[in-house]
């Protein structure tokens, strides 16, 4: 109370000094909205900037009012209302919610613009609408929300990286967007807490993103965090807990089916002697293990959020605390992700000209780095391939059983005794026990991040038209990786002298620790001028500079052969100090310096033009090429405001927009333009041959858009067409190997184009007690490589190839046309091959050049990993206290290389198979799609279309049902909700998750299906 009085006193003193004339009349009143008083509403005398804003209870008071003037009431989210004073001394006003919030002011980079005057392709995601998605990573909140923005997670493991692509893949290198959080740029947003975000604005086209110049070619996402507002203190507590399950798992063979299959495979492979699998059938020591079922358990997630916010006209604050905890769906709880977020935001209007503020976020997260994808060790992969006849645990009477390591490892292992049959690895393969892998995993990534900014803003000129703003941002991250590789498994007789007799996994045990630090300081200053002349000419202009400095360093160490491996001894001191001791340390740094400017002119709210220019200098290029210049221009015409359309009542908004601009990319390593020699580990080698001519990559983008609003903007539509052409791509060209094994030299070469059409539709009806809205968006994309370097006709990946005329990273290999049914077919088809090493039942590949030989000349493009169509549909509704929402999301026209299928169904080793293999070729006419099972190559060792699958999917991403009790037991609102995520997925893809981003899916941690229950309390 004391504090409030002081503030009030200060306010009064300021008020006394600022009032220079005696009032003609005093007007007072209350401004309210649907839900009661509206604090912070601006009340201005029309045509001036004189005015005030309402207090906590919606009260306002204006002195010195001309009785003939008009008062303008405006508040974000409400339709602006004008009321003539006409001598009244009390004017109470009720504002109506703006169904499309067209005059919402949105951040477009260093400054704000009214949505109605935007000329670029900008999409705003209001996070209060997004609260219901309940995602651990803020980037996931964009999924399905914005046309042309594709969000996918690399695997479903807790805390895993999220990939965001705005308008496709523009370049061969880094395609990640630039994030700008409260004015501070960042390349990563995983540390943010969803509950702290107010809005996310996606700058999709060049005309809007060019203000971020050199780093904007992947698009820009501006993130504004929540801040306190004038009014009494509000508290918000939200808690939910949920359970997660694996879904979409393949069906694997049971022991009986497996034994029949390997028996057949042996017979099919021309082996001599008795079939060992026939003899083994029905063995007493066989288990019937469903490894996937053993591996996956129910995961638990918990989320607790607390925030308090409020403030006076002078000072507003918000503080929040968040805790998120997820234990993933793999057994043993070594796949957890935890994050603690703390945040404060303070804004203070010291005078009517001077404003200061700060944001501070602390985030502490711990992620278990379970081997969630890939080959080695690949927990998921081994759960797929491990034969079902092996049990999870050893028999307690097995002499190799121990309490510490009760798991089976090598199949039917008996003390490395090969003579008595205790060595069946050749028969049942060298897979690892996924349960043991999961159980012994101890790999934690801990990140402590401090992110924030402090700013001051001073306004000049009579009506504060000119604002100088200085902003200092900092991003300090401390990273600690700690991995203890516990020794386990069976002794296979290997290992060097010191380690004889140890189990084969992680032999010897070892600990790796790494500590890193990354520091980014951003300092930017802007001068912003905005004024309206004669009610017709809106002018705004901005100039600024920015300086960004980044330094990161790390040290690491490792020791092996720990005597005691209890958790309390998993520290470097306790490893053997004399052998296998490693340590490391390195650092890198870069700086970026920029000038930028922007100007907008709007005539009568109908015609608008905007121009931007940014100049960036980066330490990543040699002195002569440090500077890059990035201009853009755009224009808009609000046709619906023309007089000839003023009679058309149903048309509330019609605007045409067009823009053109140039963006840059500098996302390559530091010092890559220099020829550098590395001298480490008794080795002196050329690291890379440099290129002093290296310069920025640039992309030019043309955007044409139309906005349409009908029936008082109940139905709104936006459509865009864009063409984005990236040139001078920072292309790493691998020099021929005869110059040695050097890192590729970066050159500016190559061209990639992206063209697409984006549509979003929104229908809202809040007129009745049943309020609902439906949003839909879709985007098409055509990606094409236009040009590469003359010395680089193509860039070859494991299963992909980048080549002119194809989408980036298109899959490349042999095309399967069927299965050879008999020897005669082989002989005639492979007429050019001497002794073809092919048998009936093998995969028949397309002989592209019809020479009777299948060789590398017969390879072709067999699929594209870039989706042709992405879409999202969301629905939200409320009726009385009930609310209901759904979000569907999907992609179409995308392929993925299902490499797991290769080792599962078509491998030449006796791994387990999916039930699909029961339909394998088994004699003439039996199958033309699935080759024979065999312990020799049936054609599956070739990269071919048999592994390329359509990974299109349609997913019910989120569904939530809630009920709100208003004003009970002294609380403002209490809302209960239940929510489901990834509830169902429609896809033809046979891998674990069609969403995973790897080109080669080797078996990934799947996205889990989850159900949540939560409660939200406001008071």
């Amino acid at each position: 109370m004391m504090k409030k009085n002081i503030l009030y006193g200060l306010f009064c003193i300021w008020a006394v000094f600022s009032v220079s004339a005696l009032s003609a009349q005093t007007v007072t009143g209350i401004v309210s909205g649907v839900k009661g008083p509206l604090p912070g509403t601006n009340v201005v005398l029309k045509g001036t900037s004189t005015g005030t804003s309402t207090d906590f209870d919606g009260n306002y008071s204006l002195l010195n009012v001309d009785p003939q003037t008009v008062l303008v009431f405006s508040s974000i989210g409400y339709l602006t209302k004008e009321v003539s004073v006409n001598g009244q001394s009390v004017i109470n006003v009720e504002l109506v919610e703006d169904s499309q919030a067209l005059d919402e002011v949105i951040l477009v980079g260093y400054s704000s613009r009214k949505k109605s005057t935007l000329t670029g392709a900008v999409s705003v995601v209001d996070m209060s609408d997004m609260e219901k998605t309940r995602v651990p990573n803020v980037a996931q909140a964009l999924q399905g929300q914005v046309a042309g923005v594709l969000v996918s997670s690399s695997t479903g493991a807790p805390g895993e990286e999220i990939q965001v692509r705005i308008r496709g893949e523009g370049t061969i290198g880094n395609n990640n967007p630039l994030y700008v959080i409260d004015g501070v740029p960042s390349r990563d947003i995983s540390f943010l807490n969803q509950a702290d975000i107010k809005t996310m604005t996606v700058l999709k086209d060049a005309s809007s993103a060019a203000i971020y110049g050199s780093r904007a070619s992947g698009g820009v996402v501006l993130i504004t965090t929540k801040s306190g507002s004038v009014g009494k203190i509000k508290f918000n507590v939200d808690y939910y807990t949920g359970i997660n399950f694996a879904s979409n798992l393949p069906n694997m063979l049971n022991t009986e089916q497996y034994m029949n299959t390997v028996e057949k495979a042996w017979d099919n492979s021309g082996r001599t002697g008795a079939n060992p699998y026939t003899a083994d059938k029905g063995r007493a020591d066989f288990a019937d293990t469903d490894w996937l079922d053993e591996l996956f358990e129910t995961g638990i997630s918990k989320n607790l959020q607390f925030s308090a916010s409020g403030g006076s006209e002078k000072v507003q604050f918000l503080m929040s605390l968040g805790y998120y905890d997820q234990d993933g769906i793999v057994i043993s709880d070594n796949d957890k992700y935890q994050r603690l977020n703390y945040r404060t935001n303070i804004n203070a209007n010291l005078t009517d000209r001077l404003k200061v503020g700060t944001n501070l976020q602390l985030s502490y997260s711990t992620q278990d780095k379970l081997s969630s994808k890939g080959d080695a060790p690949g927990i998921i992969r081994h759960a797929l391939i491990r034969p079902p006849n092996i049990s999870v645990f050893k028999d307690i009477n097995d002499p190799t059983y121990s309490e510490r390591d009760p798991f089976t490892d090598l199949p039917f292992y008996q003390h490395n005794n090969r003579d008595t049959g205790g060595w069946e690895s050749d028969k049942y393969e060298w897979s690892s026990n996924p349960i043991a892998l999961a159980s012994f995993t101890d790999d934690k990534r801990t990140t402590f991040q401090t992110f924030g900014n402090i700013y001051g803003e001073y306004s000049f000129l009579k009506n504060n038209e000119l604002t100088f703003r200085s902003n200092l941002g900092f991003d300090l991250a401390y990273i600690h990786n700690k991995r203890f590789n516990e020794n386990f498994g069976d002794d296979d007789g290997g290992g060097n002298d010191l380690d004889q007799g140890l189990g084969r996994q992680n032999r010897p045990n070892n600990l790796n620790e790494e500590r890193g630090e990354a520091r980014t300081i951003t300092f930017n200053n802007t001068l912003n001028y905005a004024k309206t002349f004669n009610d017709l000419h809106d002018i705004s202009a901005l100039v600024g500079m920015e300086y960004i400095e980044n330094y990161s360093s790390s040290i690491g160490a490792s020791r092996a052969r720990f005597g005691t491996t209890d958790d309390t001894f998993r520290y470097l001191d306790f490893g053997r100090p004399d052998v296998d001791v490693w340590n490391s340390g390195s650092a890198s740094e870069n700086t970026l310096f920029s000038f930028f400017s922007s100007a907008t002119y709007v005539f009568d709210g109908k015609y608008m033009v905007t121009g931007n220019l940014r100049a960036d200098a980066s330490s990543r290029f040699s002195e002569k090429n440090q500077w890059g210049y990035f201009p853009s221009a755009s224009a808009g015409w609000k046709i619906s405001d023309e007089s000839f359309l003023s009679d058309v009542d149903w048309l509330s908004n019609l605007k045409l927009r067009a823009g053109y601009g140039k963006l840059g990319n500098q996302e390559i390593g530091d010092y890559t333009y220099l020829t550098l020699i590395s001298q480490i580990d008794d080795k002196v080698v050329v690291n890379r041959y440099g290129n002093e001519d290296l310069k920025w990559e640039s992309s030019t983008q043309t955007n044409i858009g139309i906005d349409l609003g009908l029936f008082n903007n109940k139905l709104a539509m936006s459509a865009e067409y864009f063409e984005k052409n990236t040139t001078d791509i920072l292309l790493p060209i691998g020099l021929p190997n005869f110059v040695g094994f050097v890192a590729p030299t970066f050159v500016n070469a190559g061209e990639v184009s992206n063209k697409g059409f984006e549509l979003s539709l929104n229908y809202r009806n809040y007129d009745n007690e049943f309020k609902y809205s439906i949003n839909g968006n879709l985007a098409t994309l055509k990606n094409n490589v236009e040009k590469l370097h003359p010395n680089v006709p193509n860039i070859i990946g494991n299963v992909t190839r980048i080549e002119v005329g194809q989408p980036l990273n298109a899959f490349y290999g042999y095309k399967m046309v069927g299965v050879y049914q008999n020897q005669a077919e082989i002989n005639s088809y492979l007429s050019g091959t001497l002794n073809p090493n092919v048998k009936p039942g093998d995969i028949k590949f397309n002989d592209l050049n019809a020479d009777g030989i299948i060789n590398s000349d017969d390879r072709d493009f067999i699929g594209s990993p870039i989706p042709e169509l992405t879409y999202g549909i969301s629905l939200s509704s409320e009726y009385k206290g009930f609310d209901f929402s759904m979000l569907f999301q999907g992609v179409e026209g995308i392929d993925r290389y299902n490499d797991a299928k290769k080792i599962l169904d078509y491998d030449s080793r006796p791994f387990n198979y999916t039930t699909d293999i029961l339909g394998a070729w088994d004699g003439e006419g039996s199958s033309n799609t699935i080759p024979r099972v065999a312990f020799e190559d049936n054609g599956s060792s070739k990269v071919s279309s048999i592994f390329v699958e359509d990974a299109s999917y349609f997913r019910l991403k989120n569904i939530e049902f809630g009920y709100t009790l208003e004003s009970i037991i002294g609380l403002q609102d209490v809302r209960f909700y239940v929510s489901g995520q990834n509830v169902f997925t429609v896809t033809d893809y046979t891998g674990l998750d069609p969403e995973s981003t790897d080109f080669m899916d080797q078996g990934t941690y799947p996205s889990s299906k989850s159900f949540l229950f939560g409660i939200n309390v406001k008071f």
Partner: protein, 495 residues
């Protein structure tokens, strides 16, 4: 008021400009520019530039890349190009589809994309480029002055360097024929495309010979020029490679001269026990090995033999034809492969299966040993008409083999590996020599080169049902090299 905001504007641009000029040029952290080395060289840079070239001779895993099986780069793959291709060796004990590219070498169904070619090309050229950098330092007078290295040490390092370059080119020219010739570090990345052209093999041989001559002058006449590091190139290794070069060019008199020169040094002899050359406990204390890569366990960075890891995964097995090539009771068979226990003792460095599966195994990789050298001499003598001399050497080799203690301790029955009778039938002696080389040097990555230079590869391999054709006498240039050079590297005919 006006003055305030004017001054703020000025301050704001000023701060910016100052920051700009100072901080945009960053010195690279942890990496050297050539200017830095030229202006402030250290003795460590010189020493390491030579020792780093040796590494490409090792069988350590992932010297280049990270499990790049498809690129053939996981380890040096002479065993694929020589032993698997010549049908002495199978990929695995149990055939399967794993690393199918290796099988393509066995049945000659490979294409230029096969990783085996890229692998050996990459390892050899990486060795050449590393040593070119070393030679550029060691021949830079200013650098030598600044470092203050002794003349003797400089000469020794330079001698090693010239040998290594010759060694890598020797391997390349036999596998691929005409080659891009690089004898100094690139000045710029564009130069990579300027040198992207194949010079005739004759010119490569000239380079090999001149490098070896230079090396011989620089190295001292002692068995181990550096007793603390016996793995370093010695004069004996240089002379041996000179002899081998002469052999591959069928310059018989030169072969005889060089081998006699080597014998004159008196450093080498046949061991009493055939296996001593391979025994991990006798490395550098036995008499026969002339040049080997010294694998060691537990070093940082690693220097272990990674081929032993592959053995643990079931790789490297003998073909039946190879086993059949041994005469009855030849002790060398069990020392080479223990079929019953599926151990390749020659590679493991022991006969009991130790270190099988160990990716950091201590057993050395032998490149030149005296028995091999003697057989070159025998071949040269036979070709130049000294039949008695040739047969004498062959019998010397056979005698050592049959008198070696056997791996399983069993006695060698009388009559085993009986001496070859004196003969004047050159073809007969050559047949004896060829079969002797096969069993004496089995799995030592000599066989395919032998078959090629004898001109018998086609007959032998097609006889075994392999798809060997005339153009296979040279391997294809790795497809990637043709692609990356923009077409100025022309593929060998037939591919």
């Amino acid at each position: 008021m006006k003055t305030i905001y004017k001054s703020i504007v000025i301050v704001f641009f000023f701060t910016g400009l100052v920051g700009c000029t100072d901080d945009l040029t960053k010195e690279p952290i942890g990496l050297l520019t050539t200017d830095q080395i030229d202006s402030n060289p250290t003795i460590l840079t010189l020493e390491s530039s030579v020792s780093s070239s040796y590494q490409l001779l090792s069988s350590s895993l992932n010297l280049i890349g990270d499990w790049d099986w498809d690129g053939g780069a996981v380890l040096r793959n002479d065993f694929i190009l020589q032993d698997i291709a010549s049908n002495d060796m199978n990929k695995k004990w149990n055939p399967d589809g794993d690393q199918a590219w290796m099988d393509e070498l066995n049945d000659f169904s490979f294409t230029p994309e096969n990783g085996a070619f890229n692998g050996i090309w990459l390892y050899n050229y990486e060795g050449i480029n590393r040593i070119n950098l070393g030679i550029s330092f060691l021949t830079n007078e200013e650098v030598i002055q600044m470092v203050g290295i002794s003349e003797a040490r400089k000469n020794q390092l330079l001698g090693e360097a010239y040998f290594l370059r010759a060694f890598y080119y020797f391997d390349l020219v036999n596998n691929f024929g005409d080659l891009p010739l690089l004898i100094k570090p690139l000045e710029s990345f564009e130069e990579a495309f300027d040198v992207a052209t194949r010079v005739p093999a004759a010119q490569i041989w000239e380079q090999i010979n001149s490098d070896l001559s230079a090396a011989k002058l620089l190295l001292p006449s002692v068995k181990f020029p550096d007793a603390a590091e016996p793995w370093r190139v010695s004069k004996g290794a240089v002379i041996s490679l000179q002899a081998k070069s002469a052999l591959f060019n069928e310059n018989w008199s030169e072969v005889i001269t060089r081998v006699s020169e080597l014998e004159g040094l008196g450093f080498y002899d046949l061991n009493d026990n055939y296996f001593d050359s391979f025994d991990v406990n006798k490395e550098f204390s036995e008499n026969e090995v002339i040049f080997a890569y010294d694998h060691r366990s537990g070093e940082t960075p690693r220097k272990g033999n990674g081929l032993c890891a592959l053995l643990g995964w079931g790789f490297v097995a003998p073909t039946q034809d190879f086993i059949n090539a041994f005469e009855a009771n030849d002790p060398r068979l069990l020392y080479t492969v223990d079929v019953e226990n599926q151990n390749v003792s020659k590679i493991l460095g022991n006969t009991v299966g130790d270190n099988k599966g160990n990716d950091d195994s201590p057993s050395n990789k032998i490149y030149i040993r005296y028995a091999d050298v003697l057989l070159w001499k025998a071949e040269a003598l036979n070709e130049s008409g000294d039949y008695e001399g040739a047969v004498t050497i062959i019998n010397q080799i056979r005698e050592r083999a049959r008198t070696s203690p056997t791996a399983d301790g069993s006695a060698v029955p009388a009559g085993t590996l009986a001496d070859r009778p004196n003969s004047t039938d050159r073809a007969q002696i050559k047949t004896w020599l060829m079969s002797e080389r096969r069993v004496e040097l089995g799995f030592e990555s000599q066989r395919f080169n032998d078959l090629k230079r004898w001109g018998t590869a086609k007959a032998v391999l097609t006889g075994l049902g392999k798809n060997f054709q005339d153009h296979n006498y040279l391997y294809p240039i790795p497809q990637g090299e043709i692609d990356k050079s923009g077409g100025t590297i022309i593929q060998n005919t037939g591919y």
